[in-house]
């Protein structure tokens, strides 16, 4: 038990140290910006990992929730003059409510059926955002009002680095808390055996709905943060390609690993930047690297490396 409790605090602590340490190694604003994008993606991926890696339920529609969060901070201040933070909060609530309503019927499905149903749901949201051009600007997107806190205009890549890094640490802390709690044990249990979980008294349908809503809120908060950072939103972040990207980050980094979520996000955000020098071959090389990682580290980057080091220790 002691190990689990320390693990609960160790992971957010490691991430916090990483955020602080990296800040000393940033040569320019561009690097701050890329790092902030990693932190934001990692936040969404941690949420999705709670659903996929811990509870064993797939979602190919999480970009939809991401999109709701992003458009909440774009539309609500523009239409109703709300403060962006209030808008983000309302976006998170709306996302939770929607996930709750949709999750009930959808989470009865399993495996590939659940994947297709969530995929359809995500496409539905993306289409709505694209089509309601009077509200959302349609495929061209729309500007987002700059964030102002107590009269201070939030600007600059380094500022956003710290804000997003802080959010990531909080998100990781909450996720680790959940995993180590009775609710978290129920989620991990139903992943391995739904029938045994039910016999142990777990309301499986309710537990799945709970983690679906939580993971949707992570995506929504990440979406709001990205929109505020960019000062602009486009429908492509609600698109199903972005859903696939989030799932890829979960699997690449490691299912059921909060640190893995960060690793997966880091690779898929940073690599395309690094590989731009290869021009036409960029996507080929990226695909190749992803394939090699999955073949060599089949449990995902962090769990596979952890197992490898544990084996070394013992020898």
């Amino acid at each position: 038990m002691g190990r689990l409790l320390s693990h609960r605090l160790a992971v957010p602590l490691v991430i916090a140290l990483l955020v602080v340490a990296l800040s000393f190694a940033m040569p320019s604003n561009f690097y701050y910006r890329v790092a902030a994008l990693v932190w934001i993606s990692a936040l969404a991926v941690i949420g999705l990992n709670l659903l996929m890696g811990y509870a064993g339920q797939v979602s190919l529609g999480h970009a939809g929730f991401f999109g709701i969060g992003a458009y909440a901070v774009a539309v609500l201040p523009a239409q109703f003059g709300l403060h962006p933070l209030v808008a983000a909060l309302l976006g998170a609530f709306a996302t939770a409510a929607l996930a709750f309503l949709v999750g009930r019927p959808i989470l009865r499905l399993k495996g590939h059926y659940l994947a297709v149903a969530t995929l359809g749901f995500g496409i539905l949201i993306a289409m709505t955002i694209s089509n309601e051009a009077w509200l959302t600007g349609g495929p061209d997107g729309m500007p987002v009002e700059r964030l102002t806190l107590f009269g201070w205009r939030v600007r600059g890549a380094d500022t956003w680095y710290w804000i997003t890094g802080g959010l990531l640490v909080i998100g990781a802390w909450i996720a680790c808390n959940l995993v180590a709690s009775p609710t978290g044990r129920a989620l991990r249990a139903l992943h391995d055996s739904e029938v045994a979980a039910r016999v142990a008294g777990i309301d499986v349908a309710r537990a799945k709905l709970t983690v679906f809503v939580i993971s949707a809120v992570y995506a929504s908060v990440a979406g709001s943060t990205l929109a505020l950072l960019n000062g602009f939103v486009t429908p492509d972040k609600a698109n199903f390609l972005h859903s696939i990207e989030l799932v890829t980050m979960v699997v690449l980094g490691g299912m059921g690993s909060v640190l893995g979520s960060l690793a997966g996000a880091a690779i898929l955000v940073v690599l395309p930047q690094v590989l731009t020098g290869f021009h036409d071959y960029e996507h080929m090389i990226l695909g190749l690297i992803m394939m090699v990682i999955m073949i060599v580290l089949r449990a995902g980057i962090v769990p596979s490396l952890a197992a490898l080091f544990k084996g070394r220790w013992k020898k």
Binding site: M1, R3, L4, L5, R8, W173, I174, N177, L178, A180, S181, P182, T183, G184, R185, A186, R188, A189, H191, D192, S193, V195, A196, A197, R198, V199, A200, G201, I202, D203, V204, T210, I214, G256
Partner: protein
Amino acid sequence: MTATTPLLEVSEIGIAFGGVRAVDNVSFSARPGEVFSIIGPNGAGKTTLFNLVSGIYRPKSGSVRLAGEPVTALEPNRLAERGLSRTFQNLQVFFRMTARENVMVGRHLREQRGLLAHLFALPSTGRQNRESAAVADALLERVGLAALADMPAANLPYGALKRLEIARALAAEPKVLLLDEPAAGCNPVETEEIEKLIRKIADDGVAVVLVEHDMKLVMRISDRILVLDQGRMLAEGSAAEIRSNPKVIEAYLGTHGTREANLALD
């Protein structure tokens, strides 16, 4: 409740799969402190009967009462709330979790629920985790797995997993415990330990319903035995009555196998 009031009453329960009556009109009851065993040849419907009683299958006919209340066709988690727990013939272990965590899941209904407390690690959650861990450790000790508490369940040997399931079921503090072949795959020493364990569980006032293929174990431990054959009740009685029942001997090995049947049932 007096010692003679049944905790579990199953009346004329039945289910059919594709026209085959897998369990047909079966009735039995189990009282607190007793070990009630269900035996029968392979395919007699023992596990199906367990699945009906524990809410995994919905019976086509008949009823189940738990501590006097009607509970027919309730979901397994609702039955768990009312005090029924079980183990599985084909292991249903949480393989990604440690032995201790497996047993802690068994405490689920006795744990505080507040989701916000869980998300923000309020002190109550820490207390709850420590309390569940302490109960789990005591139970692992009781089933002889204390040394393996931190081991992922995936790394445990078969016999240990059988005992882990018992510990997980006990964590819920059930009134009725269904054990589906707890001694399967165990060596004689382990079987003896499991026998002592089952006896102790019953002595604590739990109604234990046992499905088991090890006839020596069944004959030693059971207060009463129900024999199933092709989904129907063939006989019910004490070990001595069952052993000498010609219908039971015939069902087990046919009329030509009397000698082997005697060996099996002795």
